[in-house]
């Protein structure tokens, strides 16, 4: 059994360009697979010879086949990963961190709010929620992006809509060919398709977007303690030893990425933005 710092070799068996800087990789184990994951957790991916970076798992837990990771090309390691061709071997350590708590969402209305590439860490949860209807549960998805060509997984969102999920997408600006909504994500959070008081909200995106979205959700009656957000810092060891991912009392590689918005995350996000 390899130690926690030894990556397992995985092979890229498929890849898809999602946007100009976002790529999804399908990874299969060369030898022994890592432990099963829960939706919302992340893996440490190694581009051998370059480095290691934390990437959320974007496939659904328990789904057969390769594990999917959606990578935004923003640095040397993520660039190497995003550029990996089919057949490339990368390293995988994990899974690490907390999850979206899907088991707590039976019969509970769920509002999912994502910004930018924030749908990637929630994609597995969305697949699960769409494909496993629960009596009395309604699911809504609100998506914000800067431009139409920066929307990730548009075909999948359309399929979720056909499966009963209430999906709305908005972009900041668009050409006239775009027939969807134009406006900031909080503008499509002016009403909920269900009673907010009993609902749970799952929110993922840049922290400033999560802060504004959480405020809108609270204004709509969602209890702050029922809002879950995904926070990320400089994840390195993955097992709460190195301290690089500390945020207040959290070591986010262990205590996050998914944390309740209230009371602590709300304060931490606000302090950071000041």
């Amino acid at each position: 059994m390899p130690g926690p710092f030894v990556p397992s070799p995985y092979r890229v068996v498929d890849r898809r360009t999602e946007t100009s800087d976002v790529t999804t990789l399908w990874l299969e184990p060369v030898d022994q697979p890592i432990a099963p994951f829960r939706a919302g957790q992340f893996n440490m991916l190694t581009a051998f010879g370059i480095g290691e970076v934390a990437i959320s798992i974007s496939s659904a837990p328990g789904a057969p086949g390769a594990i999917e990771h959606t990578v935004r090309d923003v640095g040397a390691v993520s660039h190497a990963l995003a550029s990996s061709e089919v057949g490339t071997v990368v390293g995988v350590r994990g899974p690490f961190g907390t999850d979206w708590g899907l088991e707590s969402l039976e019969g509970v209305d769920v509002m999912v709010v994502v910004g930018g590439i924030g749908l990637a860490p929630l994609r597995g949860a969305m697949r699960y929620l769409a494909e496993n209807p629960s009596p009395g549960r309604k699911v809504a998805l609100r998506v914000g992006a800067r431009l139409p060509d920066q929307i990730v997984f548009p075909e999948e969102m359309e399929r979720w809509g056909q499966m009963g999920v209430d999906v709305e997408v908005t972009v900041d600006v668009a050409d006239t060919g775009w027939t969807g909504n134009v406006g900031v994500v909080t503008q499509i959070l002016k009403e909920l398709p269900f009673d907010g008081a009993g609902a749970v909200a799952l929110v993922c995106g840049p922290e400033i977007m999560m802060r504004f979205s959480a405020r809108s959700l609270i204004d709509l009656g969602v209890k702050p303690e029922n809002i879950r957000v995904s926070l990320e810092r400089n994840m390195q060891c993955g097992i709460a030893l190195c301290g690089h991912c500390q945020l207040g009392p959290y070591l986010l590689c262990r205590d996050g990425p998914v944390v309740p918005y209230a009371p602590l995350a709300a304060e931490l996000i606000t302090e950071i933005e000041r």
Partner: protein, 155 residues
């Protein structure tokens, strides 16, 4: 006129206001409809109408130097379209184009201003509501300046 009173009273701009206030707006209002693609507002043209959208969506557009329009906002049902009729020089600042079949109550801006001038209680109530819409749109615009999704427009 009963139906028009209800249409106005049910719009978010007038909801909850006294009947007498709604009644003053009814005298300036008519029902209008637009086909998809219709230009409801034309940049630079006289602005003389407040639209209370009942159904359909309208995209607010600005012409880029290239001539290709950019959509900067979408206005949906139960929202308010157009406030350039309220302050000089009374000219539309953006184009407003129907995305879907649009049904709206069109309230004559000159008529509304005259009634607001003559009845300050009505005028104050109207301005309070319109200020709420303006504030909401201003805040949304400011939020959009914050690079909310981690991309700059140059990306």
């Amino acid at each position: 006129m009963e139906e028009m009173r209800d249409l106005i009273a049910n719009n978010s701009l007038f909801a909850g206001l006294p009947d007498s206030t709604v009644e003053l707006a009814v005298g300036c209002a008519q029902n209008v409809a637009f086909e998809p693609g219709a230009r409801i507002l034309v940049e630079g043209e006289p602005a003389d109408t407040l639209y209370l959208l009942r159904r359909g969506r309208v995209s607010l557009q600005v012409q880029r130097p290239s001539g290709k329009p950019l959509v900067i906002e979408t206005i949906g049902p139960n929202s308010v379209l157009g406030w350039s009729w309220l302050v000089p020089p009374y000219r539309w600042q953006f184009d407003g184009v129907a995305i879907d079949p649009v049904g709206a109550v069109a309230i004559d801006g000159t008529c509304l201003r005259a009634k607001a001038d003559a009845d300050p209680v009505f005028g104050y109530a109207l301005l309070q509501r319109i200020s709420g819409v303006l504030l909401s749109r201003l805040q949304a615009t400011r939020v959009r300046l914050l690079d909310l999704y981690g991309h700059s427009l140059d990306d």
